[in-house]
Amino acid sequence: MTGRARLRVDPIACDARGLCAEVLPELITLDDWGFPIILARDVPPGLRHEAAEAVRLCPTLAPRLDHTARDR
């Protein structure tokens, strides 16, 4: 996989359903109120699939995975 994939969550769309933290616990943990905290923005290649699943599964489409070209 080339390039970087950065994970972020749209805080307005997020409704703390918690699915993202279930499928990507390595990168997403929940705060005291059930909202996701992204532990590391860059998604390592080994977790790209899970990150895409988190984006697909979220009922409110809050997570975003931004693919950027490899940094100069």
Partner: protein
């Protein structure tokens, strides 16, 4: 002398041209708005800059040389913003931000109430600079009529080549945030939207939008008349010019004053007659600002660079003096509860986090059981987790309170409080109907 003296007779145009204070505010504190005729007598007409792209770019460069930065609290370089909007992909629009949602701050209201034409000059000028056919001036309800009248005077005199509209702001705390302002003007919803894209790229109606504080626009109108070098005769090389400050609390003459940037904090307090009592702390910047120890900060320059070592910044120019007889924890708890209630309500960590944090601070202020580790954990969880900087600002202010009032926390834990006067140094508006 670089102070505003309310007993001095009206400053003449020669002194203004020489770069002295007051620049924005008239010397006489009491009085109504300057009429168009009075404004033109004091400042002269606005130069006809910007007939072609070349002169517009040249003026933006002049603003860059002047080093003007935003006076709404963020301090972003104005020339850079003008350039970004002017070179946008669509016909831009200008929004003058006079909402002043900060309850303790009054500088924008006073500026609009006394010198509306200076602000309108700046708005029309900024619109010409970026190629916008329209400027919308959003003001606090208290000064709406004055600004309306001023705009009408200009229309009758056919003064401006752009269309200037005046709107009232809602008065909410977050309403002055750039995307919230665009949302308010465009859709009547005073709530921030998720950024990206920035409003300077895509804002009102999807156009590049210049959102500028009204004080910044007033400075712009003066730079157009007197130039960058004139602007730099006051202030520091890194932060030139003058700024308006609102000084409240335990001072002899609370009010709005104009000061050059970089003078010592203690001298800024002297503008308002100096402290009226021994001070426990200063809140500098606004409700997103920093609590500071007056003993250590009094000698520091009132500028971003000067206050940075102490962890503070001038922000939107608020200086609140907390007397020794007041309880800083109670004041902080009241402000925290206000900030929690003023959340746009769109992002969970802000809505729930600030609510929990305010509750914990209220418990602390009331002498009930207080879990500082849990509070600090919550502050860390809320910081930076919203769509706008509302939670970040609140967290910063509260963290500074925990530092400055550490001794008071210890006293409260043992059941004592040194506050003898009733709370309310920091104004907190009553809860508005939703």
């Amino acid at each position: 002398m670089n102070t505003v003296d309310s007993d001095r007779p009206g400053v003449n145009a020669a002194e203004l041209r020489a770069g002295h204070l007051p620049r924005l505010l008239p010397a006489r504190i009491w009085g109504g708005p300057a009429s168009l005729a009075e404004h033109l007598a004091r400042h002269g007409p606005l130069p006809a800059i910007g007939r072609d792209a070349g002169s517009r770019a040249e003026f933006i460069a002049e603003v860059g040389r002047a080093g003007l930065t935003g006076r709404g609290g963020a301090g972003f370089p104005t020339a850079r913003k003008l350039h970004a909007v002017a070179t946008g992909r669509d016909v831009p629009v200008v929004i003058a931000n006079g909402t002043e949602g900060e309850p303790a701050s009054a500088k924008d209201k006073v500026l609009l109430a006394r010198e509306p034409h200076l602000v309108l000059d700046g708005a029309a000028l900024a619109a010409r600079m970026v190629g916008a056919p329209r400027a919308i001036v959003v003001v606090h309800d208290a000064v709406r009529e004055i600004v309306d009248d001023a705009a009408a005077q200009r229309r009758r005199a056919r003064l401006d080549r752009v269309r200037v509209t005046v709107m009232t702001a809602t008065g909410g705390f977050v309403a002055g945030e750039a995307s919230a302002l665009v949302n308010w003007v465009g859709h009547g919803i005073p709530l921030p939207t998720a950024v990206p894209p920035r409003v300077s790229e895509r804002g009102l109606d999807g156009r590049p939008t210049l959102v500028q504080n009204v004080e910044t626009l007033a400075h712009l109108a003066l730079i157009a008349r007197h130039g960058a070098r004139w602007f730099r005769t006051l202030g520091t090389p890194a932060e030139p010019g003058s700024m308006l400050v609102t000084i409240i609390g335990a001072v002899h003459r609370p009010g709005v004053y104009e000061t050059e940037i970089g003078r010592p904090v203690s001298e800024v307090l002297d503008l308002a007659g100096g402290p009226a009592a021994a001070l426990a702390a200063l809140l500098i910047g606004g409700y997103f600002g920093t609590w500071l120890d007056p003993a250590t900060v009094g000698a520091l320059p009132f500028s971003a660079a000067g206050l940075r070592p102490a962890g503070g910044s001038p922000g939107a120019g608020l200086v609140a003096a907390l007397p020794a007889g007041a309880c800083g924890l109670t004041e902080t708890a009241r402000v925290a509860r206000y900030l929690a209630a003023e959340s746009a309500g769109q992002c969970g960590p802000c809505v729930f986090g600030l609510d929990s944090i305010a509750g914990e601070l209220e418990a602390l202020a009331a002498g009930r059981r207080f879990d500082q580790a849990r509070l600090r954990r919550w502050l860390g969880q809320v910081d930076g987790r919203g769509a706008c900087h509302h939670p970040d600002g609140a967290v910063h202010m509260i963290r500074s309170a925990l530092d400055v009032f550490a001794a008071e926390i210890g006293r409260h834990a043992r059941g004592w409080c040194r506050g003898t006067r009733s709370p309310g140094v920091l104004p907190v508006p009553p809860r508005r109907a939703p």
